[in-house]
Symmetry: C2
């Protein structure tokens, strides 16, 4: 799985909802804020099952109702299509759960 | 729930298994390393149910098979007996799962 080409970056990354590039590292970042821990961890559990099935796992930090997610592909040392796919799945699973 | 007294610290904290004090903050920290993501997140799910029942939640970062945990009591701005209790429960739930 190769890193995204410049053309792929220009096409795919601006289409993502609220994901930003990490400073000093080729990775994606987004902060999700839920109503409470129950909603946050419930979402994490759904994402964990999807991530395990993809064999592609996030780096994530949870503090009560907040989850900070970083996505990158270890073997490629950067962002690949699998990160874009996982970002999109995370967004779909968070729909209706995150705070406005 | 008040912060631990000096006497309580001397009694309770050295008895914890592998938990250390965070630099510059009154909080406990431990790094758990599991065989893989499945084991790590399975443990997190068990801890999450316990934490929710206690209404006392960890700050934790998961990267594949590793989980970095920080425990402190927000309202008390430091370590309380609830942190000690959650640390002990986390350790019991990790028994047999963490790498030597």
């Amino acid at each position: 799985m190769p890193r995204l080409t410049d053309a792929e970056r220009s096409e795919l990354l601006p289409a993502l909802d609220g994901w930003t590039l990490v400073e000093g590292r080729d990775a994606l970042h987004k902060r999700f804020v839920f109503d409470d821990f129950n909603a946050a961890f419930g979402w994490m559990a759904r994402v964990a099952l999807a991530a395990e099935a993809m064999n592609h796992h996030p780096e994530w930090t949870n503090t009560y109702n907040r989850v900070e997610v970083t996505l990158a592909t270890h073997d490629a040392k950067g962002i690949t299509r699998r990160d874009v796919e996982l970002a999109q799945r995370m967004d779909r699973m968070a729909a209706g759960l995150v705070k406005g």
